[in-house]
């Protein structure tokens, strides 16, 4: 399996090319590239510090958020129903190669 390359837009609007490895969640790829994603719950949908915006079509194709993710996100800073996801809940998929990820504002 090959890695995915992502374009990540940080909170200052800077773009970063990020390698996303199979078996990593999206959060792990962001964190391991030193992007300011605190991920304080280690990826268990408990903290919302890994909140990102994805393209609306991609969010739709990923399916429903689970209940914990949904409840954490609705109150999150800058929440957008069509674009918001917790990146720790997004698993690696080949078809996501090249996607753009924007970090949501910090609390």
């Amino acid at each position: 399996m090959s890695t995915n390359t992502l374009t990540v837009v940080d909170r200052e609007g800077q773009q970063h090319a990020v390698q996303w490895e199979p078996e990593q969640s999206l959060m792990e790829a962001l964190r391991d590239h030193d992007l300011p994603v605190l991920a304080s719950c280690g990826g268990t949908a408990s903290c919302a510090t890994c909140h990102v915006f994805l393209d609306g079509d991609i969010v739709t194709s990923l399916g429903e958020r689970n209940e914990d993710e949904a409840e954490l996100l609705v109150d999150a800073e800058g929440f957008r129903e069509d674009c918001s996801r917790l990146s720790c809940q997004v698993a690696f998929e080949d078809r996501l190669d090249g996607m753009t990820v924007t970090l949501a504002p910090e609390e």
Binding site: E21, Q24, E28, R31, D32, D34, P36, L38, S40, C41, G42, G43, T44, S46, C47, A48, E67, D68, E71, L72, D75, A76
Partner: protein, 425 residues
């Protein structure tokens, strides 16, 4: 950071706090040497999955790493694994490793965590008596949780109850012995304990309260647990989850002030210049309640790492985050914001029978802490309301139809809330 030095920042301990410090130093712009030392071999890993994922059936022997394998080298972080730091020479600014080699430091960070408290009873050394702190411990417990095994868990705290949940799922017969009269008494209120007790009993966990263990018996290997009222509990394996002790001895011997934890200020400085401590090993004054506390949580390890990195780099520290914690038992999540006190006013929001409710802890009318069970709707509002110190209307709080943020009466007063809390502590 403008200070020129060739000596490294030495971080002792590569758990949650140590790795967060190393990562924070690099992202914050520290380009000098960083040396991470750990007594354990292998890659630094996450601890919460050890009592959750690792123990569930069919989970294999993999566990989540704190950072991927090539992370450290790619950032020029030197790692020394399988070596214990035996002593610190504060005057010479050096640490001494087992075997005698010395390593000078520019700054020293003690992120040495805590260890499982050992059972203070005869028989505690028998084979089959286990505790859960490390990955190796997790694997040993995983191997012991075979279908039909008689598992006795001593202590009904987070670790004990998470192991109990995993053990019944593995088809073991499980008894939890607890000296107190309910589960998780140290950290939560009676309604939350009652809910989780029901959950565990429904899944077949046998809970015994007021059970003081006096002896473990067996021929080489544990066979039974004896309690002070003379009862015997047959056991193939015993897991002790009776709390942790801070690994403070290293700091104490070097002259750091300790009192059930290494004492640190809000920047995580010890009383020895140039030496910091973070994570489970520390004791500090809560900026929210004024109480002296030691917190065993990931959130605290990360927050303290961040505070001391700001101090070393001279950067602007972030405002303190309210402490928070989570546990998952039988697939049900308990998530806490703030730290409750037994004297707090306890208000239940919602109906525990639905499996989804919150418990709000008011201190002098102000929000001190929240437990959310089976849902997270009140968690984030609580994290904002606690530091704000606003008075809440108890009648509104009791109505789950009213949003928690809408229960504030509009009145403020932080200073007396702090004083009351300090008096309670």
């Amino acid at each position: 950071m403008t200070e020129k030095t060739t000596d490294p920042i030495v971080i002792v301990g590569s758990g949650h706090a140590g790795v967060a410090v190393a990562a924070g130093l690099r992202t914050g712009g520290w380009d000098g040497r960083i040396v991470l030392i750990d007594a354990q071999h292998g890659m630094p890993y996450e601890r919460p999955p050890l009592s959750k994922e690792l123990l569930t059936p069919g989970s294999g022997d993999k566990t989540a790493l704190l950072r991927k394998e090539d992370y450290y080298q790619a950032r020029g972080m030197e790692r020394i694994t399988g070596h214990t730091v035996e002593s610190i020479d504060p005057a010479a600014r050096a640490v001494v490793l087992a075997g005698g080699s010395r390593l000078p430091f520019h700054r020293l960070v003690l992120a040495i965590g805590s260890r499982a408290r050992e059972l203070p009873v005869p028989g505690a050394q028998l084979d089959g008596v286990l505790a859960l702190r490390t990955y190796q411990d997790g694997l040993a417990i995983q191997r012991a949780l075979v279908p039909g095994a008689k598992v006795v868990i001593i202590g009904a705290g987070f670790i004990g109850m998470e192991v109990a949940a995993a053990a019944v799922k593995n088809g073991c017969s499980v008894t939890v012995l607890e000296f107190q009269d309910r589960v998780m008494k140290r950290v939560t209120s009676a309604p939350v304990s009652a809910f989780f007790e029901g959950l565990h009993r429904d899944r077949g966990v046998n809970l015994e309260f007021g059970a003081a263990v006096t002896e473990l018996q067996g021929e080489g290997r544990v066979e039974r647990v004896v309690t002070s009222d003379g009862r015997h509990f047959e056991a193939d394996v015993v897991v002790a989850g009776i709390g942790v002790l801070p690994n403070q001895e290293l700091a104490e011997a070097a002259g750091a002030a300790c009192r059930d934890g290494v004492l640190v200020d809000e920047h995580c400085r010890t009383n020895i210049p140039g030496i910091y401590a973070a994570g489970d090993v520390t004791r500090f004054t809560s900026p929210f309640s004024g109480a002296s506390q030691r917190l065993e949580s990931i959130q605290n390890a990360n927050a303290q790492a961040e505070a001391l990195v700001s101090d070393i780099l001279g950067s602007q520290p972030r405002t303190a985050e309210v402490p928070w914690f989570w546990t998952v038992q039988h697939g049900v999540r308990l998530q806490t914001a703030g730290v409750m006190h037994p004297d707090d006013e306890v208000i239940v929001r919602g109906d525990p029978d639905t499996g989804k409710f919150s418990v709000v802890y008011l201190r002098e009318g102000r929000l001190a802490a929240v437990d959310t069970v089976g849902g997270l709707a009140d968690f984030r509002p609580a994290k904002k309301l606690i530091p704000a110190g606003r008075l809440l209307d108890p009648a509104l709080v009791a109505d789950p139809a009213v949003k928690l943020e809408d229960t504030a009466t509009g009145e403020h007063s932080r200073s007396d809330a702090r004083q009351t809390a300090a008096a309670l502590a």
